[in-house]
Structure formats: C-alpha cells, structure tokens
C-alpha cells in the first residue's frame, strides 16, 4: 500500500512537472539563450517596424521588416532548409492571420538561402487583452530560435468580443473558436457513458478479495455469468458496427475532406540588398577589447557609387551602434538595444567616389556585455557577423554590407 501511495505521488509529481516544463517552453523568451555566433551570423534583422503598438481585441496589427541570411552561416548550425517565421507570444494572445515573405503569402515552413535577402510581413489580430512582450523570430530546424527585435504590445478591450470566422472552400462560414467543439465533446461523452456503464456493470459486485478467493477455489464459472457473456457478445458485435456506421455517416456529411497539408514553401530571395555591389566592404580584422567592451574592425572599403558615402551604423544581433556624427543614419525607434554614440570612426571624412580606403571603426558599448555577445570569444566558433550601413547623404541612398571576421580577444 505504501509503495502504491509513493507511486501515485511520484507519477502525480512527474505529471505536474511535465506541465511546468511545457509551460516554460511556451513562455521562455530565449533572446540571449543561443550562442552569440548563432544570433549574429544566421538571420540578420533590420528595418523591423510595427504599424501600431496599442490596439483593441479584434484589431489587426502588422509587423514588417527585412532580414539578410548571413553568407557566413556557422558550420555547426544546420543550413536553413526548413525554417518557420514565428512570433514569440505567451500563448495565442494574438492570432496570425496573414504572413508574407517577399510579398508572397506562405502558410508552411520555408527554405532560406544563405546570402539571400528577404522582406517579411506578419498580420496579427488581437485576441486577449493585456500587455505583452513580443518578437518576430525564426525557428531554425535543429538550431533554435533566432529572435528579431522585441516590442511591448498593449491590447485593450474584452476577450469575449474576439471572433474568428473563416470561410471554408464550400463557402460555409465557421467560427474557429468553437468549430467542432460540441461535436467532439458529444462523442467523448457518448463513448464515456458506454465505458462507464461497462465499468459499473462489474464494479457493483464484490471485487478483489472475494473474486481472488473464488478463483483460487476453482469457482471460475461463477465469476462470469451467462448474462455477462450475453452483454459481451452484444458489445463485441455492436461496438464495431456502431463505430463503422458513425464513421460512414461522417464521411457522408463531409465528403470532400483533404489530408493535412505539409509542403515546404519555395520563395526565392529578393535581388541583392546587402552586398549589392556598389559599395564593397571587406573585413580585414576584428579585435575585441574586453575591459573597454569595444570591438574594433579594420575594413577595406571601395566606394564605386557616384557620391561620397559615410558609415552610419553597425548592427549585429539586433544591437545598433550608431555614428553620432551622422544624424541621418538610424531610422528605427531608439530602443534599449541602441547605442546612439556607440560607433566611432578612425577617419570620419566621407569616402569619395572611386576611393579605396582601409580604416578602422570601433563599436563600443556595455551592450556587448549585457546582450551576452562578448561570450563569442569563449565559443568554439568565434567569428562575428553583422551589417554595416553606409549612407550617401547627397541622394539619400543607403548601402548595406555584411561584416564577417574571426574575433581576436584582448584581455587587458
């Protein structure tokens, strides 16, 4: 009896901890959970914007932006052959109604090409009122979740007002919040009632001790009566007949069903946005000084455009280091992940058309540490990746180049 109780307690405990685990994975944010080289050298997000951050239940809200898939994809991360553009939420407090990649709607997972450029848009609809911290992010198969920039969304209104009607291919309008629910409950209750009747049929008689003793005494025939046998025979025939009949009726009610759809969407990258060939940037060296939290890059820049360009921003893992002397540069909202004076140039003079210049730039801020990007130097793969934004202030053009180099640590 004691062992039985212990077993009960243990299994109940396991059951509860499983739920806790389940819930934790749903809630887990994981922004800094992945190794820095994965956050910096897989999906490089930029220009991510929400069209609003305060809205009501049933209102639509959309997030759009761009990302570059790093060509210097880490060797230890599986290639992005199956990825899923997702939204980190504490459960479905919003529903996703539309999703686009390069303007094309897509419902399934998608393969991305390293070096490719993409733009995306996700349309959501408020479902549960509250204040939520939300990111767009990519689930990368066998690699993890690479977060885009996060914001706080405030949904007002009442949950009871939420409605989600969908039109099926036959033109029937269905309410997703309740479709098939009462039918499902009915069948569970129906079979549940039959099972309960069968259990009660047996449970009403003396059970364990007397039956065990009778069986020991060879009185087996008294334990199962002819009535029991009759009922069992009826069930042996009746249950399968009923199952098949109800199944046939359902097929009649829904003749045009299809199997679950699980194809991989194929969407080609945009024409090159990053490394588009007008301004070339080659990373010669990267050095990280730990005490100063300072990353210094030596770059070889070749301006093949017709106007002078200036370096305005370095971005990696959603952290933005801005050149304070170039006010035109950063268009996004100044979030907590921005170092407004984080980028300084060895030679601030614009790079003239046709000029080839080798120079160092320095991005320094406590964000290297607080975002746990400095852990890079202790990883097996200590290459850095990011995007460098250069501006042509004459015609207001922006050029983006990717940065990639092995990082050399300076410990003091």
């Amino acid at each position: 009896m004691k062992t039985l109780l212990i077993k009960c307690a243990v299994s109940l405990g396991l059951m509860l901890s499983l739920y806790a685990l389940n819930v934790q994975t749903v809630m887990a944010h994981g922004e800094k959970a992945l190794e820095p080289f994965i956050r910096m050298r897989t999906i490089q997000w930029y220009d991510v914007k929400w069209d609003k951050q305060q809205f009501n239940v049933n209102d639509e809200v959309s997030v759009s932006g761009k990302f570059h898939v790093a060509e210097d994809w880490p060797i230890s991360v599986p290639k992005p052959e199956a990825t899923f553009l997702n939204i980190s939420t504490p459960g479905p407090v919003l529903i996703r109604t539309e999703r686009y990649l390069n303007g094309k709607p897509f419902m399934n997972s998608v393969a991305l090409q390293p070096g490719g450029d993409y733009d995306f848009k996700i349309v959501l609809k408020g479902r549960l009122p509250g204040r939520y911290h939300i990111h767009p992010f990519f689930n990368l198969k066998d690699a993890g979740q690479v977060m885009g920039p996060g914001v706080w969304l405030e949904i007002a209104g009442t949950a009871a007002d939420f409605s989600n009607e969908i039109k099926t291919i036959n033109g029937e309008l269905i309410d997703m919040e309740s479709y098939g629910l009462s039918n499902g409950i009915f069948w569970h209750l129906f079979w549940g009632a039959l099972a309960t009747a069968w259990l009660l049929w047996w449970l009403r008689r003396p059970l364990f001790i007397p039956r065990y003793k009778m069986l020991q005494a060879g009185l087996e025939d008294e334990l199962v009566t002819s009535n029991d046998r009759l009922i069992a025979k009826v069930m042996l025939v009746g249950v399968p007949v009923l199952v098949l009949a109800v199944n046939a009726m359902t097929i009649g009610d829904y003749p045009n069903t299809i199997p679950l759809q699980a194809s991989l969407d194929r969407i080609l990258p945009l024409p090159a946005q990053v490394n588009a060939g007008v301004v070339d940037v080659e990373t010669l060296k990267a050095e990280y000084r730990i005490p100063e939290r300072m990353m210094t890059f030596t770059l070889k820049i070749n301006n093949r455009s017709e106007n002078p360009v200036q370096i305005g921003e370095f971005m990696s893992a959603n952290v933005h280091f801005l050149n304070k002397d170039l006010q035109a540069s950063y268009q996004g909202d100044a979030g907590t992940m921005t170092a407004p004076e984080g980028l300084s140039l060895e030679n601030p003079a614009p790079i003239q058309p046709g000029e080839q210049r080798t120079m160092t730039i320095t991005s320094s801020d406590a964000l290297w540490e607080s975002e746990k990007l400095d852990g890079l130097i202790r990883d097996a793969d200590s290459r850095i990746g990011g995007l460098l934004f250069l501006y042509d202030t004459v015609v207001g053009e922006r050029y983006i180049s990717s940065i990639s180099a092995a990082v050399i640590p300076k410990f003091n």
């Binding site: 899923f84 449970l203 249950v239 199952v243």
Partner: protein
C-alpha cells in the same frame, strides 16, 4: 490417475467481512484510478505527445499508427492482472477512461485556461471503443493469444473510424494564402505556438507512402500487427509487476 480429494469451496462473505472487503475494493479502485490517470497519461504524453495534443498533427499515417500502439500498453498490463487474478474484464476500459480523464483535465487547465488555446484545437482522440472490444474479447476467449491477435488488431483498426466522427470535420479544405489548407492546418497557422514550428509536424513522412491515397488503411493494418506484439509484451510486463502477496495473507 489422480483423485480430487478435497473439493475447493468458497463461501461468499457476509456481514462485517463483506463490508470490509467492499471498503477494500473501493480503496483499491480509487488508488488505481489516480495511479492510471497519472502514469498512463504521462506515458501517453511522452510517447504519443503532439499527435494527441494538436488537431493539426492528426495525420492519416502516423497518428493512427502511433496512438493505438502506445495506447495498448497499459490496458494490456492491467488486463493481465485483473483478468488472471480476479476474472475482471475491464482492464482496458478502466485504463483508457483514466487516460481520458487525465487528458481532458490537462487540455482544459494546461492548454486552454493556462495557455489560451481553444479547446477544439487540442481535442484528445478516443480509444474507448477499441478498449471495450479488447475487454470483451479477453472475457469471451479467456486466451492471451486470441486477445493479442484479434483484440490487438481490433484496438488498432477501430482507432481511425472511432475518431473520424470527431476530427473529420477539421479536414474540410479552406482556400487561404494562395493555397489549400485543412481547417486543422489553419488552427496551426493562426493560433501561435512559439515552440512548435510547422516543420516539426511529422505528416506523412517516411516509407509507408508508396500506396499514396491508401495511407490510412495501410497504417491501420501495420498498427494492428504491431499492436498484437505490443499487447503480448505488456501483458507479461503487467504479470511481472503484479503481486497478490497481500491477498494471500487474508
């Protein structure tokens, strides 16, 4: 030639003795119910898992293969004890009922109230018709072999038709995002699951696909064969774990 010397006999309990023995019945039943709710539900969540959790995982190939195969385990073990020792033919029904109680509690509290999923997206499958048939086959045949072969097969074959009345309507097509989806797929797209990207679903993957449209019957027969073996295996596991040590002392 052996002669039956002492004819075994048993007088039904009366009075106080009957009352105590009945109290013992209830005690065991309540404990067993909670034990099965906990342990079978845990076993099921860890093995069948997402196939039973989500409406957009219930495909026609893996779902009807995996669910009965993992679902026949505890029923076989409990039947071995309840039938062999007590001639009680409700082991499978008791287990599956306990499983469903645990599952429904989890779906309502953990999935719906705690994580906001609509319940129709996380409806559990039922194995009760198969369990009832498994119980009556054991009772009528009083044979492990017959129950393993015919009961195991019935348990697997009845699974899909028992559940199609619940889930068939979720396979109605919807035109969405320049393609066709089932209502079930649309649930997966709309109701955001952070830790469950679409590509994790195991939908008609693997080598069973040669016969295309006949995926379900093929899976069901494959499952029937495996269920017969699984049934036998777990029958012996049940027998091995069971003890009547305490009863012998009474």
């Amino acid at each position: 030639m052996s002669v039956n010397i002492s004819k075994p006999s048993f007088q039904p309990y009366t009075g106080e003795k009957a009352r105590i023995s009945r109290a013992f019945d209830y005690l065991i039943l309540v404990l067993a119910l909670f034990l099965f709710i906990g342990s079978f539900h845990l076993h099921f969540a860890l093995t069948v898992g997402d196939w039973d959790f989500w409406v957009d995982w219930k495909d026609r190939q893996w779902w009807p293969l995996v669910t009965p195969l993992m679902g026949i385990t505890f029923p076989a073990a409990v039947q071995a004890v309840l039938w062999e020792k007590f001639r009680l033919p409700f082991g499978a029904t008791l287990c599956v009922t306990a499983l469903l109680i645990g599952t429904w509690v989890a779906r309502i509290f953990a999935y719906h109230l705690w994580n906001y999923f609509p319940i129709n997206m996380v409806l559990p499958a039922t194995m009760l018709p198969g369990a009832l048939v498994l119980d009556v086959i054991l009772m009528l045949s009083n044979s492990l072999t017959v129950t393993a072969i015919f009961g195991g097969a019935a348990f697997a074959l009845l699974f899909y038709p028992s559940n199609w009345p619940i889930f068939g309507m979720f396979h109605v097509p919807v035109e969405y995002g320049n393609g066709q989806l089932t209502v079930a797929d649309l649930f997966g797209f709309e109701y955001i699951r952070t830790g469950m990207p679409e590509y994790l679903r195991i939908i008609e993957r693997g080598t069973l696909r040669t016969y295309g449209q006949y995926a379900t019957p093929l899976s069901a027969f494959c499952s029937a064969l495996l269920c017969s073996l699984m049934y036998t295996l777990w029958w012996y596991i049940g027998k091995w774990f069971a003890t009547v040590r305490y009863l012998n002392k009474i």
